[in-house]
Amino acid sequence: MATQTSPAAAGDRPTKEPAGPARPGGGRQQTTKNNRWSTVLHRLDVKGAPYAFIGPFFVVFAAFSLYPLIYTAWISLHRAELASMDLMEWVGFDNFIELAKDDRFWNALGNTFTIGVLSAVPQLLMALGLAHLLNYRLRGSTFFRVAALTPYATSVGAAALVFTMLFERDFGMINWMLSLIGVDNVDWEGNKWAAQFAISTIVIWRWTGYNALLYLAAMQAIPLDRYEAAAIDGASRWQQFLKVTIPGIRPTIVFTIVLSTIGSTQLFGEPLIFGQGPNGITGGADNQYQTLGLLLYEEGWKNYQMGRAATVAWAMFLLLILIFAVQRLLKRLAARSS
């Protein structure tokens, strides 16, 4: 930062200082000169430093986010194979048209959607309940909060490995527990809905506590007198929860819905590892749980078709935009009807 401002200052100096031989002596003159010099430096510092401070963020962002973003769009309009990227062939929107005709794409889109709903809805509802419990006056509240957050410390890799074993068909603990209540062994990997349920469980486990803490923080910011007013009006605890707590944390709820929607469209590690081995990338033998993230990887790094992979990436982005546009629209319609 300092290096950025001082050369500029040095460059300015000759133009601002009157040219000519330095006048002899004169302690006083020396001081004014120094003052002027430091004023210039000061002004440069005040004007330049903010840009130097925010600079690194934008440099890294431009190099590793903005440039790839644009380049992805460019690649998606080409037939581009990983081994011979210098021989990219312009195909216009062919990749998009082919993708739209590809059953695997619609299958992956559907799976991404169903796994997303299966994981996000229970996750956020449970987080809401957990936050409500944590919001009581509690002994050992720190313990419960830290415990709720420990799954967040687990990597996708470890979590998916453990749950894959718990959901194992022949000796897994979950099938064993089900057998205790008389349910036959479920083929968690082979059965489409069972597999999607199992994958959603991994997501729910890892993120419920995190969301609960976000809700808890918002709940604690609700002024107490609102509860008192509601209690005076005769509202039961459940009514207080519905009429005071939920509206009070609405912005946070919206925030977590946005976060988990983004997370859902990007689902990758959980299904990949759950598939154990070659079935991971294709999302099961029948693609029964292949997500868009997995399809992108399959096209790019298994089939070496970078153009198609870039197209899938754009499809994911457009999907996100579409979801938020629809959500906006619904909100507006709801506002109009009420």
Binding site: M1, A2, S38, V46, A49, F53, I54, P56, F57, F58, V60, F61, A63, Y67, P68, L69, T72, I75, L133, N135, Y136, R137, L138, T142, F144, R145, V146, A147, L149, T150, A153, T154, S155, G157, A158, A159, L161, V162, M165, M173, W205, L213, L214, Q220, A221, L224, Y227, I262, Q266, G269, I273, Q276, G277, G280, L296, G300, A310, A313, M316, F317
Partner: protein, 303 residues
């Protein structure tokens, strides 16, 4: 630095309002109007068990052998083979190298994220400059761009740079974080009184000096939290490292996929590997759990 300024510094840190807010709200706001009844404790205990049980069972499975772990009913108590299995998994999954790699990656990313987020957060919170609002909007806008959109060109770029399968390929794209910038901005906007900065200016301190002597001490609690959260994220990041690294030079989550991909058939070894990969972060959680919880809650109030 004179003792006076040091004293002043400490006072600032001690009395800053946000320091207070960073602490987990223990008695003040928590619980609102009602004391928890037995039902609440029971439900919370169930939630805690559900949160912790998979990790506990990982340890149980990692301490038995393959035959025991694949029997029904499955084992619920630890067996005698924990260290033996950990040692084997360490070798089979190349976890030693992965561990070092993950430390380097997560450490570098967390350090640079905190440094640049504090610099930028300070500028956005307290300095006036042309284009500030546009720049801040851009920062927030970048949070919405999904990482998938960048992987294809990034992969090609890293190959061109000769960084394929090397750690810089993982580190460079995540050196900064928009969320981090936003987090520090929100924190410093409240925590740092304008008068302090003005006083610094009157004393003739230049911006870097102000940053070093005034901003950093005030920002320290938030920086610690941001460091830990970024470290957790970087350690657990999977998608991009999986694409750009291979098994010869993996991070921990990438190395763990080797365990699931059928290279290791022994279930106990797989669980030992999963346990090893999680241990460093669990240790961090046991030591700093309070602070991390507080940090996430703090970010939420603002975010």
């Amino acid at each position: 630095m004179t003792t006076d300024t040091l004293q002043a510094r400490q006072d600032v840190t001690r009395t800053s309002p946000s320091k207070r807010r960073l602490r987990i709200p223990g008695r003040v706001g928590a619980g609102r109007q009602h004391h928890a009844g037995p039902a609440t404790y029971i439900l919370l205990a169930v939630a805690a068990v559900l949160s912790i049980f998979p990790l506990y069972w990982t340890m149980v499975a990692a301490s038995t052998d393959n035959t025991r772990v694949t029997q029904t009913p499955p084992p619920f108590l630890p067996g005698p083979h924990l260290f033996e299995n950990l040692g084997k998994a360490w070798q089979d999954a190349a976890l030693g190298k992965a561990m070092v790699n993950s430390m380097i990656v997560a450490g570098t990313i967390a350090t640079s994220t905190v440094l640049f987020a504090t610099l930028a957060g300070f500028a956005f919170a307290k300095l006036r400059f042309k284009g500030r609002n546009i720049a801040l909007t851009l920062v927030i806008g970048t949070m919405l761009v999904p990482p998938q959109l960048a992987v294809v060109p990034l992969f090609l770029l890293m190959t061109d740079l000769g960084w394929g399968q090397k750690l810089p390929a993982v580190i460079f794209p995540t050196l900064v974080s928009a969320v981090g910038v936003f987090f520090m901005r929100q924190y410093l906007a409240d925590a740092l009184p304008d008068e302090l900065i003005e006083a610094g200016r009157v004393d003739g301190a230049h911006s870097l000096r102000i940053f070093w002597s005034i901003v950093l001490p005030v920002a320290r609690p938030a920086m610690a939290v941001l460091f830990m959260i970024t470290f957790v994220h970087a350690w657990n990041d999977f998608f991009w490292p999986f694409i750009v690294l291979d098994m010869t030079n993996p991070t921990v989550p990438v190395a763990l996929t080797q365990l699931s991909a059928g290279y290791v058939r022994d279930q106990s070894l797989i669980m030992a590997g999963a346990l090893l990969g999680t241990l460093p972060l669990l240790a961090m959680f046991i030591v700093f759990g309070r602070q991390i919880v507080g940090g996430i809650m703090q970010g939420a109030v603002k975010g």
